[in-house]
């Protein structure tokens, strides 16, 4: 897939316009990269909902797509590991977290955020996004399990039974 193109929210234009543009680009097969750390919680959440639910969205909206895939596949990762996010500074942030930001270590989003949002000043946004992404990943994981369960490949199993049954 082609690399995503950066998509910046312009403060003078309404959210609806941006969502419309996202949809136009994605339906044309163009993946998009959002600068989530500069977005408000509501804007970011609506972009995520668009990606999750709108049938016209043909390409992922990054970094949501990568994060969702990692969550569905239960990869041990955090925001620091995502290709599309700012990855430097983790060691320094971690060193200072227990004293400088104990609230970060008590946050339910820490297993995925791992202090990234504290460095970027985007806690509110990621605190809105992460639970939604985790819920979507759980739902997708269940769907995948149902589809892969024995007997769900009905065509193959039915054919096998026909071969084994007496004439």
């Amino acid at each position: 897939m082609r690399p995503p193109i950066p998509f910046t929210f312009m403060p003078d234009l309404p959210l609806a316009w941006h969502l419309g543009e996202l949809k136009r680009l994605s339906s044309a097969g163009i993946p998009v990269l959002l600068d989530v750390d500069t977005m408000g919680a509501d804007e970011a959440t609506q972009c995520l909902e668009l990606m999750l639910h709108d049938p016209d969205m043909a390409t992922p909206v990054e970094p949501f797509g990568s994060l969702l895939q990692a969550l569905v596949e239960k990869q041990p990762m955090a925001l620091w590991d995502l290709t599309f996010l700012e990855r430097s500074g983790e060691a320094e942030v971690f060193r200072t977290l227990p004293k400088a930001h104990p609230e970060c270590l008590a946050c339910a989003c820490f297993p995925i955020c791992a202090g990234y949002a504290t460095q970027m000043g985007s806690c509110a946004t990621w605190q809105a996004l992460i639970p939604r992404l985790a819920a979507a990943a759980r739902a997708l994981g269940r769907l995948r399990q149902e589809q892969e369960a024995p007997g769900n490949s009905r065509g193959f199993v039915a054919a096998e039974r026909e071969e084994l049954s007496p004439p």
Binding site: P76, A78, W80, F94, L97, P98, L105, A106, F110, A114
Partner: protein, 369 residues
């Protein structure tokens, strides 16, 4: 299942040199109202979050200093507030056993049920464990008589052995003696940690061990265990061996990385803590049973922090460590004692690594779980 380390008193009739639970001030004894509040809280917990299974380890201090009336009330409240709600309750007890006379055996049987085990601890070296205000040697005599009474009543017991500096030159001999005198008994070897009486400078100078000494002690004891045919019930070795061989993950609390999910400690005044060690050191406190609700306890920010400790360590101190699955950063109380933070690995890390490398080599899958 949730394990509740319940300390009805911090009073003790013994004066062990390295007691981690000893602290200054008047002894406290739990009253009936506090016990009721504790059972109401953990009854709700067991129903909402604990799969309706509760294991209560009566601890202390010395729990058998509590009078008969307390135990009758405790058994009644367990039925009224726990079992009546469909909660399975298992009782255990950790006692120095010196107050365990044949007359108390019927109470013990009622408390423990058919499967319950008495936990106790032993230190054969002279001068380490004595009773207050009685001649030297009485502890050992009373202890021996108690074990005889347990055996006669067919009640199983397990032994905790604290490894300290004076024991280091005698570990193999100690292991052999324990196996001979207590065949089929579970043994658990723990390092001495710097808390309570062991935190006093003169005690620690005499008895304290370094991480490296603990690692070497593990190597020595493990060697003795292997020569003995690897009998079951000798900790910490059995779970590590099972993990290495089968990938089976049944580690004890200090190595599980999940103690926040499985354990609580309660002190005589109803204070609720992460575990028994935490209640001794008044660290990792959640509040009091008189005011906490199960929901508030479940959502407590401290529990969330403790849950996040694993994530933090895996991305910092313990990053890339091939032994992560074997210790998960070790006991959070060790980290607290040494560094004043939960977000550090156990102070015994170097010793554990030394033991793991010696026992299992270095060709292991990097830790993930």
């Amino acid at each position: 299942m949730t394990t509740l380390i319940l300390k009805p008193t911090d009073a003790c009739n013994a004066r062990c040199r390295y007691c981690s639970a000893a602290h200054p001030g008047a002894a406290k004894f739990m009253d009936g109202e506090t016990l009721r509040q504790v059972f109401e809280l953990f009854g709700d917990w067991a129903c909402d979050f604990g799969r309706r299974r509760l294991r209560i380890i009566w601890h202390g201090g010395e729990p058998l200093l509590m009078p008969e009336a307390f135990w009758e009330e405790a058994l009644g409240l367990e039925d009224e507030l726990l079992r009546s709600r469909g909660i399975t309750v298992e009782n255990g007890i950790q006692t120095n056993a010196t107050r365990l006379t044949p007359e108390r055996i019927p109470l013990l049987k009622r408390l423990l049920g058919p499967k319950g085990v008495v936990g106790t601890s032993v230190d054969p070296l002279p001068g380490i464990r004595e009773l207050k205000g009685v001649p030297e040697g009485q502890y050992a005599r009373d202890f021996g008589a108690a074990l005889e009474a347990l055996r006669a009543a067919d009640i199983r017991y397990g032994l905790v052995i604290v490894v300290h500096r004076l024991a280091l030159p005698h570990l193999e001999e100690l292991y052999a003696k324990l196996r001979t005198e207590h065949p089929g008994t579970g043994l658990r070897f723990n390092p001495l940690y710097r808390q309570g009486r062991a935190g006093e400078a003169r005690v620690w100078d005499d008895l304290g061990i370094t991480a490296e000494e603990w690692g070497q002690a593990l190597i020595t004891l493990h060697g003795a265990w292997m020569k003995d045919g690897c009998p079951p019930g000798v900790q910490p070795f059995g779970p590590w061996e099972a993990l290495h061989r089968d990938g089976h993950w049944g580690l004890s609390c200090e190595c599980s990385g999940r103690c926040f999910a499985t354990h609580f400690g309660v002190d005589p005044e109803g204070g609720v803590f992460l575990c028994g060690r935490s209640s001794d050191g008044a660290s990792f406190a959640f509040g009091n049973a008189s005011t906490l609700t199960a929901q508030a306890l479940h959502e407590h920010p401290l529990r969330r922090s403790l849950a996040n400790r694993s994530v933090y360590l895996q991305r910092s101190t313990c990053r890339g460590c091939i032994w992560w699955r074997y210790c998960h950063g070790g006991c959070v109380n060790d980290a607290w004692l040494e560094k004043g933070t939960a977000f550090a690995a156990t102070s015994f890390c170097a010793g554990l690594k030394h033991f793991f490398e010696r026992r299992f080599g270095t060709n292991v899958r990097p830790g993930v779980a």
